[in-house]
């Protein structure tokens, strides 16, 4: 009984937090506060050592001085400026007219613009609002089925979560780097290949294209089987005039920006952070060229970026108290044992992880789920034999789905707030369901064919030399954490490391550089 007290506490901590969060107090503070209550209780019972908490200060400072994570505010800033430069409006109008004459054409244009905006602005909320204000009325005027129209808009807007430069992916990469290091060390590989933001961006590119393709196919399917749900647009000669030129003008800058920013990251010329800053300055120049770079726009972008990123980073700080306490109680070993005892071996473990994340997605934010779950679930999955990049991409798609899942999906709320009253909320929900199905299909395809995620990073990074590593405060963080907790977890971890050896034989097919070298 006493032996397992810590593990009981770990489970209690998890459910305690889930309950406390429902109060509606900010998640970051609740995470930290509840974890501390359990830690204090554990300390009184003599099963938790408070000196663990000395790791908090260096860890927080490490987060402050983490060069990789600076890419997050830079990309958000770039997106905020682009959003105000009217790029989305121009794209949606011209693309809509360009494809509109086809059956289902407005739908294709929304998916396509969604993909382009995902690769440039990357702000889900802004994208869905702009599309809802411009494309939704256009689609309704053209007599589109409201369900199909709203579902397509919501789904296309969520692409920002997956298609690089997605902020979520930057965090996944940064956490996976530490997780992979720890897992590989446990397996005896003391110098594993680093997992970089560039790796994850490259890994997410083809799956992103896969999703865009699936959405397009769904539109084609609708256009063929239910032509009345997405009729072609009737255009005046006036609208048709000079359409080609306007379309090219609207496309050229975003495409150049995407090519420049993503291209330089993927080609290994610049780090993600550096590319992001160039992208941000490029966006400002573009906005200035369109006469939209006012002081107000800059101020708005600065304030919004500061607030949004602070919100995300403070969750990271709060969540790290949780993982510290959870590990202190031996919860990590518990998860590891549970995952490695899953029926179906490594597949079962992955399916369970995905299910838990999906369910948490109903009431937690993407970032919260990543910060809480990835450090705990990541190492066992890697030890069981999954490729870290593949895990990261799977998680990104899974969490992207939570933006779309009725009734709490973010984009559904956003669209509801701006959609005309004539559209029922249930119509928005029902419109999203086929796309949730497409997301599940994408996950299944990726499960069956992991190389969709791992082929490109392998192609790019295993041949080219890695770009110069800049100073990285993250090192401080890893030391503080691994030193304290790596040892502590071991007494419980013996079962899982045995599993790891068994899993090793299986890992070859899709584990680039993951094996022992």
């Amino acid at each position: 009984m006493i032996d397992h007290l810590g593990e009981f506490m770990a489970v209690g901590l998890f459910f305690g937090i889930c309950t406390a969060l429902l109060m509606g107090y900010p998640v970051a503070f609740t995470l930290a506060g509840v974890s501390m209550m359990f830690a204090s209780l554990g300390w009184i019972l003599g099963i938790f050592d408070f000196t663990y908490f000395l790791a908090i200060a260096p860890r927080y400072f490490g987060t402050m001085m983490n060069e990789v994570l600076v890419a997050v505010p830079l990309f958000i800033f770039m997106g905020m400026i682009l959003e105000r430069s009217g790029i989305a409006e121009a794209l949606l109008t011209t693309m809509g007219q360009l494809f509109g004459q086809l059956r289902g054409g407005l739908g294709y244009s929304v998916v396509l613009v969604g993909a382009i905006l995902a690769a440039s602005t990357g702000v889900v909320g802004a994208t869905v609002v702009t599309m809802g204000l411009i494309s939704l009325p256009a689609m309704l005027r053209a007599n589109y089925d409201p369900k199909l129209a709203s579902g397509t808009i919501c789904a296309s807007a969520t692409l920002s979560q997956l298609i690089p430069p997605s902020t979520v992916i930057i965090f996944i990469a940064d956490i996976l780097q530490g997780v992979n290091q720890a897992a590989q060390n446990r397996m005896g590989n003391l110098a594993p290949d680093p997992v970089s933001v560039g790796d994850l961006f490259a890994g997410a590119l083809l799956p992103g294209a896969l999703l865009v393709g699936l959405y397009m196919l769904w539109m084609v399917f609708n256009a063929i089987t239910k032509p009345e749900s997405c009729p072609a647009l009737i255009m005046t000669a006036e609208e048709r005039a000079s359409l080609g030129r306007r379309a090219i003008l609207a496309m050229i800058f975003p495409l150049l920006l995407i090519l420049g920013v993503l291209g330089s990251i993927l080609a290994g010329i610049a780090t993600a952070t550096e590319s992001a800053s160039i992208g941000a300055v490029g966006a400002m120049i573009f906005a200035a060229m369109r006469g939209r770079l006012t002081f107000d726009v800059i101020r708005h972008a600065m304030v919004q970026t500061a607030t949004t990123t602070s919100m995300i980073f403070i969750i990271l700080l709060g969540a790290s108290v949780f993982s510290l306490v959870f590990r202190g109680f031996g919860g990590e070993a518990l998860v590891e044992d549970a995952l490695s005892a899953m029926p179906g071996g490594m597949v079962g473990a992955m399916v369970v992880t995905m299910l838990v994340m999906f369910l948490l997605g109903f009431f937690l934010d993407t970032f919260e789920i990543i910060f809480i779950m990835l450090p705990i679930f990541g190492p066992p999955l890697i030890i069981l034999g999954w490729d870290p990049i593949w895990i990261g991409v799977m998680i990104a798609i899974n969490l992207q789905t939570s933006f779309l899942t009725p009734p709490f999906g973010f984009t559904l709320f956003y669209l509801r707030s701006i959609a005309p009253k004539s559209i029922e909320t249930t119509e928005i929900w029902r419109g999203a369901i086929p796309y949730v199905g497409l997301q599940a299909a994408a996950l299944a395809i990726l499960f069956w064919q992991p190389s969709i995620a791992t082929w490109l990073p392998e192609k790019i990074y295993r041949s080219a030399p890695v770009a110069a590593t800049p100073t990285d405060g993250g090192g401080i963080e890893d030391e503080g954490f691994g030193g304290l907790f790596g040892d502590d977890a071991d007494p419980f971890g013996n079962g899982a490391s045995g599993e790891g050896d068994g899993g090793d034989a299986e890992r070859d097919p899709f584990a680039p550089g993951g094996g022992l070298q």
Partner: protein
């Protein structure tokens, strides 16, 4: 009550100032980082300390603005049930949250960073990297500044909650006004 409202206004005002500083630091971070990238790839010019400036600018930014973001209710909440609570119910939750969750966490950070920051000050710690910034101890001190601003804002939130409980909506700071009229946005 007037006195309380004055104190609340002062706290919100202080954090508004730090919020503005933090917003400016974002632009610093963008411009310096772009400069570093261009200088490095175009002219082969690189200095560690300039790199550290944009990293630190952002690090300091999110620590300074956190309390102001809390004032503006920008920190994510799970609002499934919250929407159904009355305003006074939410005020009670806010007080409980500050006392049970926020303040203990801040106390923990203070305890943890006490020697960490103190030792750094004692040796006027510079960057661990050759050619780095000379005043790393000042950046580390942001942990303490963060704690202080957050604690202040926590007290400000309790003050606001008391104002709501007493029905004195006319005395609320402007960050809270629009939120009380409009429902929480998802």
């Amino acid at each position: 009550m007037r006195l309380l409202a004055g104190a609340v206004a002062l706290i919100y005002g202080i954090n508004r100032c730090f919020g503005a500083i933090a917003a400016a630091l974002i632009l610093v971070s963008v411009l310096v980082c772009a400069f570093v990238a261009v200088a490095r790839y175009q002219f082969g010019f690189g200095r560690i300390w300039i790199q550290e400036i944009y990293v630190a600018a952002f690090g300091i930014s999110f620590m300074l603005v956190a309390a102001h973001a809390y004032a503006k209710n920008a920190h994510v909440r799970v609002d499934i049930f919250q929407k159904r609570f009355s305003r006074k119910g939410r005020a009670v939750i806010e007080i409980i949250g500050v006392l049970c969750f926020l303040l203990p966490w801040l106390a923990l950070i203070t305890w943890s960073s006490w020697n960490y920051v103190g030792n750094s000050w004692a040796i006027r710690e510079p960057s661990p990297w050759p050619g780095g910034l000379p005043a790393f101890y000042l950046i580390k001190s942001m942990l303490v500044v963060f704690t202080a601003l957050m604690a202040l804002q926590g007290l400000g939130k309790i003050g606001t909650a008391i104002l709501v409980l007493c029905g004195r909506d006319d005395l609320l700071p402007r960050e809270e006004e629009d939120l009380l009229h409009a429902e929480l946005q998802p």
